[in-house]
Amino acid sequence: MRAFGRFWYEFIVGDDWRIAAGVVLVLTLDSVLVAVAEASDTIVALAGAAGIVSVVFAGLFRGREETRPH
């Protein structure tokens, strides 16, 4: 069971969990905009896109030390 879970984790999330975690965080915050703040669709869409691109960019640069050739 553990091996099964590990396989799917590695299959979907891959080498950098920070990017997946960042995407889920952005979507969670964006869902608050929808459910609580009742923001317009345009704001929800643009905030979601900007947030996702930002966390991926940040994740890439935080992870570069681990992938840099020595």
Binding site: F11, I12, V13, G14, D15, D16, I19, A20, V23, V24, L27, D30, S31, V34, A35, E38, D41, T42, V44, A45, L46, G48, A49, I52, V53, V56, F57, G59, L60, F61, R64, T67, R68, P69
Partner: protein
Amino acid sequence: MSSSQIGLVVSVFLASAVEFVEAFTIVLAMGITRGWRAALAGTVLAVVALAAITALAGYTLVDWLPETLLQLIVGTLLLVFGLQWLRKAILRSAGLVPLHDEEETLGEETAAAARAGRETRFGLDWFGFVVSFKGVFLEGLEIVFIVITFGLNADDIPLAAAGALCGGAVVLTAAVALRRPLAHVPENTMKFAVGLLLSTFGTFWAVEGLGVFADGSRSIEWPGGDFALVALLGTWCLFSWLAVRTLRGAGELAT
């Protein structure tokens, strides 16, 4: 044909072609060293298993989940999965991760197959059968994942499956004609394109699916409707270009 369907066919075709190139190298190594009977049996069984998974998972998910929730869950999975492809392609283009070399993989697989002991089960060389099955199944699982997630959101799993079959057919035809690993296929460029498309459509659908939290559970409307896909694709392209340039510069400074 809608923009979603065009994106669907292009993404699945390219992903399938890339994964078939990698799977073919493994099957070729087993065929050369362990015999073609076991290699082909493993391949056929893996393809049958993948087709069954696609049919079962695809149609079950459609029946179980309401449309908006499906957009959110499947869109998020597609986005996270697509970002893996994009991240790796960016790191490879920046020179931080080595490019995939099919000739090298063939050498490694052939050497491992030559060292392995010989055990026969069901009249087949077991090592050749298992390695071929695992190679095709694991590479194919990525295609199945894209076919199901993309196909569900574009509401056209048969079109997605057809795109994947075409990608596989093109690679297999080239492979049979050349009878050697397809080392000159621009794998990283193709993976880059797949990563960009999956990230674009994943972002679009995941955000649309957030409407499940709105009153009445409706899809979030992107400004410009489907044209937002073009803007999203442009944004991911610009972001990737910037990331490759910056990471390449940082790598050069460090060495």
